[in-house]
């Protein structure tokens, strides 16, 4: 007898369950390519175990997305104040469950080689990997799969849920689509985040990413954002789930500071970006789907090895630095004293160091957190809705991640350190002049 339900062993979730229609997506060219895209770019050069790929992450996201959907749509879990947001019929609900799982499966299809490392520089102005994910999901190849599903899935809806309102430009999202997309790629409780924290910490061997996803998922609810009658529905938690939500956001904070923004990891990303830019040219990454799908980490690594051996290759210097561990070293990092004098202190150090040593020896890495995951509704035991930040001191005081690094080439490191020690106080307070006409 033909088998319609399948399971794949998984390091995080033990088993990922899927049916034959979902397996058709897994077997597609676009999805199989994710076997060759590292989840964390060159992080394995710092945390040797972090060699996992987008492939297993995407399977894990689908597994969690199905669980979250079942919890938030269960009749017993529906809050009467936002009941109108749920589809009225069981058939409609089944349809959306399938869209959610497919969208979760496909949410990373548009990743460039080595994931985020070089996206900002290589893609045409304004384009992100999300745009490519949406393009692949809506391609003719994938459309054949969507049409074969019972009932057929609308590709635009799969794309909307996979990418979300923040990144899918020009699409209007209704409240239901916004909510479902929030369950996949949302800042607070998106299953993308749950899976990558669990999986990255497991493979990196860093315990911080461990979270109680079972309790958290069981207590997720669709709630009104506040107690007013105009409140829109939003993804929130029961009071009993607040500690596990705090755990998730603390895990995220520590993973950001300890793994994702580890200075050596960040400089490897910069060298990788320098290599890709030198090899392919700025804004020149192929975005035609056939060409795009042919490029994976493996093609990049082959070229990188060639470049490291060949001094005449345009990407020789960054390739040599990556493969032979000659990466730039940390010269300066953000600290509260300097930031109180100049919030862009790193930029001031970078500009002065470039002037002193030449910009080929200096790199700057600045990131002030942009997502705000800690604000969501909490349903109290008496049914009142309370803001998470008001209820939880942990969330209220959780600082946004803020990174400001300046790196220098190892060959000038000692000289640069002595130079900075001598001039630090003068450099830190150097600010850009205010323009008359913004």
């Amino acid at each position: 007898m033909e088998k319609h339900f399948h399971e794949i062993r998984d390091a995080v979730h033990v088993f990922v369950h899927l049916d034959t229609e979902e397996r058709r997506v897994v077997d597609s060219v676009a999805f199989q390519r994710l076997r060759h895209i590292h989840q964390l770019a060159l992080t394995h050069l710092v945390y040797p175990g972090a060699t996992h790929r987008r492939f297993e992450h995407s399977l894990g996201v689908m597994e969690l997305a199905g669980r979250v959907f079942d919890v938030i749509t269960a009749e017993r879990n529906r809050d009467s104040r936002v009941r109108q947001v749920f589809p009225p019929s069981p058939d409609a609900l089944n349809y959306w469950r399938r869209v959610v799982r497919m969208a979760a499966l496909c949410h990373d299809l548009g990743h460039l080689p080595f994931s985020h490392a070089a996206e900002g520089t290589l893609l045409p102005q304004g384009m992100k990997h999300h745009d490519l994910s949406a393009k692949i999901i809506q391609s003719d190849d994938m459309q054949r799969i969507w049409e074969s599903v019972t009932p057929p899935l609308r590709r635009q809806e799969v794309a909307k849920l996979a990418v979300g309102p923040k990144d899918l430009k020009g699409e209007a999202f209704g409240p239901w689509e916004s909510l479902l997309s929030e369950t996949i790629v949302g800042d607070s409780f998106g299953v993308d985040r749950m899976d990558y924290l669990l999986r990255d910490s497991l493979h990196a061997g860093v315990i911080y990413g461990k979270i109680d996803q079972y309790r958290l998922i069981d207590t997720l609810r669709v709630l009104p954002e506040n107690n007013t009658k105009e409140a829109e529905p939003a993804l929130g938690v029961e009071l009993g789930g607040l500690p596990s939500a705090e755990g998730l956001l603390l895990a995220r904070y520590f993973m950001y500071t300890q793994v994702y923004f580890h200075p050596v990891r960040r400089i490897y990303d910069i060298h990788l970006r320098d290599f890709l830019t030198a090899w392919l040219g700025r804004n020149r990454f192929p975005t035609e789907l056939d060409d795009f799908l042919r490029l994976t980490d493996e093609e990049v690594l082959v070229e990188m090895r060639k470049a490291a051996r060949d001094p005449s290759h345009p990407g020789h210097d960054p390739a040599d630095r990556i493969l032979n561990r000659k990466h730039f070293r940390l010269l300066y990092e953000r600290n509260p004293d300097d930031s109180a004098k100049n919030p862009e202190a790193g930029r001031a150090v970078y500009a002065a160091a470039c002037q002193e040593f030449g910009d080929q020896y200096v790199r700057h890495d600045r990131y002030a957190e942009k997502e705000d995951p800690a604000d969501f509704p909490v349903r109290m035991r008496d049914d009142r809705i309370v803001s998470s930040r008001a209820q939880s001191h942990v969330l209220k005081d959780l600082p946004p991640v803020n990174v400001d690094y300046v790196f220098v080439a190892p060959e000038i490191r000692t000289e640069a350190e002595q130079w900075l020690a001598r001039n630090r106080q003068d450099i830190i307070v150097q600010k850009e002049k205010e323009e008359d006409e913004p």
Binding site: P165, K166, K169, A172, F173, S178, E225, N226, N227, T228, E230, E232, S339, A340, K341, N342, P343, E344, A368, E369, K370, E371, D372, D375, R384, I385, V386, S387, R389, A390, Q391, K396, P399, P400, V401, N402, K431, E432, E434, E435, D436, P438
Partner: protein
């Protein structure tokens, strides 16, 4: 506009809103910035889409979070049943001191928006910002038709309230034109 220049404008707007008793939650700031950029043409370079409670900018949300990361803004809990309010952070004086020309250049626009929107609640801000959204897309359409468009986008808004919002936005527009001519 450079990042810290934009920070100076946003900080001044938040202070102006607070002086007019605005709750200054994210939604209040979102709608005030929408008017500042789209009606008064302050070049903040933020993209708005139709989302929560009308026009919404994910760019602005990211910007506000990054300003919090830099202690230029901070959160204040004023009532647990509502979200946190934005308030000036520890680096407020530094930013105001570094960008006096930028702040004074847009002072009139900031005060205009704060004066008209500072005391309004979320429901009213949703109506007004959606009415402005519709006006910007079909400037030559009559009040009734634009009110219908508001209702198509936000069906929970009643016809009389949609029409009232459209008229109020028209009045603000004319008022601003008159100020500019002075």
């Amino acid at each position: 506009m450079k990042r810290l220049q934009r920070a100076a404008v946003l900080l001044s707007l938040i202070e102006a809103l607070r002086r007019r008793d605005s709750w200054c939650a994210e939604t209040n700031v979102q709608k005030a910035v929408y008017f500042l950029q789209e009606l008064l043409e302050v070049p903040l370079d933020l993209e708005f889409v139709l989302y929560k409670y009308g026009p919404y900018s994910f760019d602005l949300r990211e910007e506000l979070t990054s300003l919090r990361a830099d202690s230029i803004l901070t959160f204040e809990i004023r009532d647990p049943t509502y979200g946190p309010s934005y308030a000036p952070g520890q680096l407020r004086d530094l930013i105001v001191g570094d960008f006096p020309k930028t702040i004074s250049r847009f002072r009139k626009e900031i005060d205009f928006v704060a004066e008209r929107l500072g005391n309004k609640g979320i429901a009213e801000l949703e109506r007004l910002s959606t009415a402005l959204y519709v006006r910007l897309r079909s400037p030559d359409t009559g009040v009734h038709k634009r009110a219908q468009s508001v209702r198509e986008l936000k069906p929970h808004i009643s016809s009389p309230l949609a029409e009232q919002a459209v008229k109020e936005v028209d009045a603000m527009f004319e008022e601003w034109q008159a100020i500019c001519k002075e």
